[in-house]
Symmetry: D2
Subunit: 154 residues, 4 copies
Amino acid sequence: MPLAPELAVSRWFNAAAPITLASLRGRVVMLHAFQMLCPGCVSHGTPQAQRAQQLFRNTDLAVIGLHAVFEHHAAMTPVSLEAFIHEYRLTFPIGVDEASSGDPIPVTMRRYEMRGTPTCVLIGRDGTVRHHGFGQEDDMALGAIIGTLLAETP
Amino acid sequence: MPLAPELAVSRWFNAAAPITLASLRGRVVMLHAFQMLCPGCVSHGTPQAQRAQQLFRNTDLAVIGLHAVFEHHAAMTPVSLEAFIHEYRLTFPIGVDEASSGDPIPVTMRRYEMRGTPTCVLIGRDGTVRHHGFGQEDDMALGAIIGTLLAETP
Amino acid sequence: MPLAPELAVSRWFNAAAPITLASLRGRVVMLHAFQMLCPGCVSHGTPQAQRAQQLFRNTDLAVIGLHAVFEHHAAMTPVSLEAFIHEYRLTFPIGVDEASSGDPIPVTMRRYEMRGTPTCVLIGRDGTVRHHGFGQEDDMALGAIIGTLLAETP
Amino acid sequence: MPLAPELAVSRWFNAAAPITLASLRGRVVMLHAFQMLCPGCVSHGTPQAQRAQQLFRNTDLAVIGLHAVFEHHAAMTPVSLEAFIHEYRLTFPIGVDEASSGDPIPVTMRRYEMRGTPTCVLIGRDGTVRHHGFGQEDDMALGAIIGTLLAETP
């Protein structure tokens, strides 16, 4: 399986320092790509990521948010995102996907060939992409994949 | 009962012309005050207002949204609101509550002495305030009040 | 509009004495017909009737349940219904629709020409049927009809 | 960890032949103990078991229902259970927990020292009890445990 492309992030929230996937090698990563004005993200995907962080807080899972804005760019700036994070009480690290000059699709979103938001990418301890899902993820199915990946020998 | 204070709106969405409560006299008005980054509005109050507009579309009920921003002002500008309205497919008229110089609370919100968002105000055919509720409104209770107000002789 | 047919009930629960529609003339009646093993009743209709009783407890609305068994008769006897009422903490009066000899459809269900369960019948203060709905009723729509009927002069 | 006690079942539904845990050794077992008139089972636990069977249908998970009646015995006989299974379209095997003479608690429930219904017991490929939960189980947490147990070498 292919190695997960590295993140390209212009600004981090809820993180003391920039985060790279390279530095998370050996752990399982849940990458939740969203937009703050995407209804399916706000009602389902983003609260699910928050619940995953809480549920697996004592495990090797790292939940990382990616604000992947590919539409309404002027409406979803970092100042708006910051208020969103505050109001929705999100506590997992969230990176702003780096804008691409001349392309509405930001850099990380393009690297992962995401089809839209929400997208959930699960990365194994070996750094390979093990799940890549667009749209609503079922809680039980998501839990099963995470449980399986955590069970692999680091 | 007191007459409902007039709206102070700096910009309308989903309306061909500015709307006044005076012009709606004789009809029942549901005024839904919200903020686009208020979780309780997005998950409950605003979809409820949209459902009310749909349910009572052939009656004398007018559903009016009021974007009453009293916090995170830079995060909830009209350009962001416009994207929000588009993404959430809101079709009822929405006015931006007029900013007040030197006061974070906008003008209409102050006139109604609203405690926060979401706030639901129901105005009878005679122009008086008949219900003023802060927080989550129960669908059945709301329907009952609207049904009662619509039953009054114009 | 036609007068609502009288109830035919073989046994009452949550009632000190048998209830007739005739004795409720002047009040609004919500008649909730259900079966204890009907999934749509258990998940939606019956809790809705319970909420309606609570919401309108200080009004002229009378909520009446009707256990209208038309299938699996041996599985839904009064002894099972009694446990169901206890476990689901139902507090509104519930009558067992009278069995009809040679007909799986019980008497009241036949009189009202109900198509199945849940069925919600709303009866005005004048005793006429004002709403007759099969399946899931929207809370707001139901509230609106009840509010309208309560607003009529007794 | 202790070996899971064997099931004591007086009658099976949705099964061609009686099922024993011994015969399932090497597979993961989800044992869902419920009562057909237990509101928390009907609204949450039992549909969750049905979803688990569907989600993991191509894996080594076996979902087994246990109708563990410890109250209202006359109200929840096999004839009522059969109609319940039909109406709720349950397709996983369901055993009636064997009645115990002189004890309202049936045999299997007693062996597992279950506190009530719903109870979810997860048994590993080695036949030991790995999870024993009373009440509402979170979908994501349940999925994670199942994923972990399935990942163990048979």
